[in-house]
Symmetry: C2
Subunit: 210 residues, 2 copies
DNA sequence: GTCTATACAGAGATAGAC
DNA sequence: GTCTATCTCTGTATAGAC
């Protein structure tokens, strides 16, 4: 979880913070060194070069909570929770934006997404596909149990995932300008609530009808 | 609509293309000049400096179709179209991703969003707020006309807007790696369909109940 | 308006003393 | 493992001839 120690750790976290704020290319080795409080050349005792720092951050991304919206649980373990599961997932997205460490990683990811094909592969496979597939499985099981109405589970997964991602992006953007995020922050929970109400099978209504 | 002529136009479009692909900072004046087919110093006859090119692109953004998902129509003119309106809007998002010019602008916008506070202001006011407010107004009128169920119109606007944005981002990302976009492209229409079905007031059902 | 030449600043990276 | 010094390259921008 937590990376290295001493100077290397300081270099790592300073670099991440600067990359997230101004981008990889715009951040200089001298700038990193200055914030760490060492000479620029001293960085090379810990990292081979600038790109090595970048690669280290990308590696760290993979073990971060950023991608673990299911908290390592399998679909069949959790789908029965129904609405509560959706609320939990929405809440994890919200928590990420308020955790300094994962928030930096997310901003870094968005910042460099179109510049770095390694990052795009990572984003696609580990962040998007993995989560959407799990969500898909969850919705499929809910349908079989007649908890929700039958439709395309993959569509449901995308429809549930995309607003959460969007709200996360909005908050990250608002924070970049020190604007208030309170209005946007309420949208996570509202989304889960709204979404569940629209897909659930309403048993009371069913009873009334027949 | 179309910008300048001759060399200046070539510089502009080459720069936009390179900025969108590799970012503003990573693109050099020499690289732009080389692709245009002139000497690097000749650029300065058309633009004051590198930032001047950037600012010109940002200006062009404002007059682009990227932000006009309502095609300059007012909410009260169009809300009665109901489902068709939602489908139209979803289709405009889709068209944007397949129009070379607006797609470049969108990719440029995403690329530089976190680097440039001018762009963030533009994105927020012209792209997000404007459209969400209009959508909000549309949903509010639909509620008054009892076309859709009553809830928070602003929430509805965000819920309708965010998947469209997300799918647009996905396609732009897939294109960056020359991957197939056909699966993602179908999501625009499916979203409009899905969303409408979930919010509309089903008159047939209402009649059955009372 | 484009060219060649060049100034100048800032970047990444290495060498070698301590 | 950190420092000072320095190398080399690359980038933006300007000057002045054609």
């Amino acid at each position: 979880m937590s990376e290295f120690k001493g100077t290397k750790q300081k270099i790592y976290s300073t670099a991440l913070s600067l990359f997230a704020e101004q981008g990889y290319k715009s951040t200089t080795m001298r700038q990193i060194a200055k914030e760490v409080g060492i000479q620029q050349s001293a960085i090379y005792n810990h990292f081979k070069n600038k790109e090595d720092i970048l690669d280290t951050i990308i590696q760290q991304l993979e073990s971060s909570h950023l991608i673990n919206i299911f908290e390592n649980k399998e679909p069949q373990e959790v789908y029965k929770k129904g609405k509560l599961l959706l609320k939990n997932i929405a809440n994890i997205f919200k928590l990420i934006t308020y955790d300094t460490k994962t928030d930096l990683l997310f901003r870094f990811l968005m910042q460099e997404l179109f510049n770095n094909s390694k990052l795009r592969v990572f984003y696609n496979e580990e962040f998007y596909q993995k989560n959407v597939k799990k969500l898909s499985a969850v919705f499929f099981m809910m349908m079989q149990d007649e908890m929700i109405e039958a439709t395309d589970p993959l569509l449901l997964a995308n429809e549930f995932f995309s607003p959460l991602f969007f709200y996360q992006l909005q908050i990250t953007r608002l924070k970049a300008d020190n604007q208030s995020t309170s209005a946007a922050a309420t949208l996570f929970e509202k989304h889960a609530e709204f979404f569940w109400n629209k897909i659930k099978i309403d048993n009371s209504k069913k009873d009334t009808l027949f």
